[in-house]
Amino acid sequence: MITIVDYKAGNLTSVQLAFEHFGARVRITDDPKDVLAGSRVVFPGVGAAGAAMEQLAGLGLLDALRTVIGRGTPFLGICIGMQVLLEFSEEGETTCMGVLPGRVRRFRPRDPLCKIPQIGWNAVNIAKPHPLFAGIEDASEFYFVHSYYPAPADQVLIAGRTDYADAVFASAVARDNLFATQFHPERSGRIGLRLLENFADWNP
């Protein structure tokens, strides 16, 4: 069973359908008790960091998320669900969860033709082997939609790197039972489904 955390930050349909594609059972919930009962937790989200943190606090989800991460439950953050794990986001000067050391920064391209947000497929250069990358070739492209990027303070956390707008940023991070991606595996075709299937089978 995959528990998908619903904190009203965007549309969860595509995440649900991607897991169901390979037969995983999915529960979508905004209830901290369900999150605590989860054996695998997916923490997706699109939108603004500030609104996301307000929703998480309002729904009483922050402690539940910290607890499942701390106790070793396989945990996958996606997009805003990755960014709010860091300490601080430049988006709206938002204090985030601080599960991971580091900040979220805005892209500031010198080239005016470099568009913000980054929308589209970009290569993820694998920085360290990880069970979630099993069967996925180095430099495979994944689908991105974002204006801000994670900048973890500890380079050891970085599992994948991507190049955009004069920045080489951490497009995937990993620590123990936690994995998080700036890209959207649920929108990244067969290769993205492989990453999600790897997560569904992962026993950290």
Binding site: G10, T13, H21, E141, D163, Y164, R187, S188, I191
Partner: protein, 259 residues
Amino acid sequence: MLTKRIIPCLDVRDKKVTKGVRFQNNVDLGDPVEMAVAYSDGGCDELVFYDITASAERRPIDIEMVRQVARAVHIPFAVGGGIQNLDDMRRVLLAGAEKVSVNSLAVENPGIIAEGARQFGAQCIVLGMDPAKTDDLARFPSGYEITTRGFRHRTGLDALAWAKRAEQLGAGEIVVNSVDADGTREGYELNLTRLIATNVGVPVVASGGAGVPRHLTDVFKEAFADAAIIASMTHSGEYSIKAIKDELIAAGVPIRRKW
């Protein structure tokens, strides 16, 4: 490096994909879900569906079709053609579309862009525009006027001014569909695409006129498009996505190679 996107466009009428010169002489090409799967497996980077009869008949978008597509393909896709209000946007996005595309509706009610961006995020809101060439440079400094309703209606809006306005309102992406190039298969309208792409900060998708892979190379390298819509060149079976991508890669365009 961010790759350039190739986006097949599926015009849907009565649950069938059709293609004519737009809105005329339409011929059934197949089932939308089967075609979406074939294109996704074939390496397209995104898809767009226009429910082309929805607007004319004033009926809502076929949500069940959107659901079926979302279950079948796991790449981004946009839906347009019959969006009439925020509720339609919400239903299409909750059914699994990544983006909604508004065109005539945004001209009639520009506030829908801002409201959609606020409720669902700017990345979900695509502005489609159909500019036509004009000699009246006094009224239309860009040389293009926005048309709507299948090119039949002239709006009095300058194309570049409208693009900038839409960006300010919160459109996450702009599809520039040249009325003059549409259906010609003689190439995208490079001047128009370049004009918009170099003057807005959001991604610009070129549309209308693609006939051979070289046309995509030109619109990416010379007109700075971020993505390009294709239709008849692949619907007809004349080119595969792979063949188009191979030619673009050989020309040095950044393209997604693994799928």
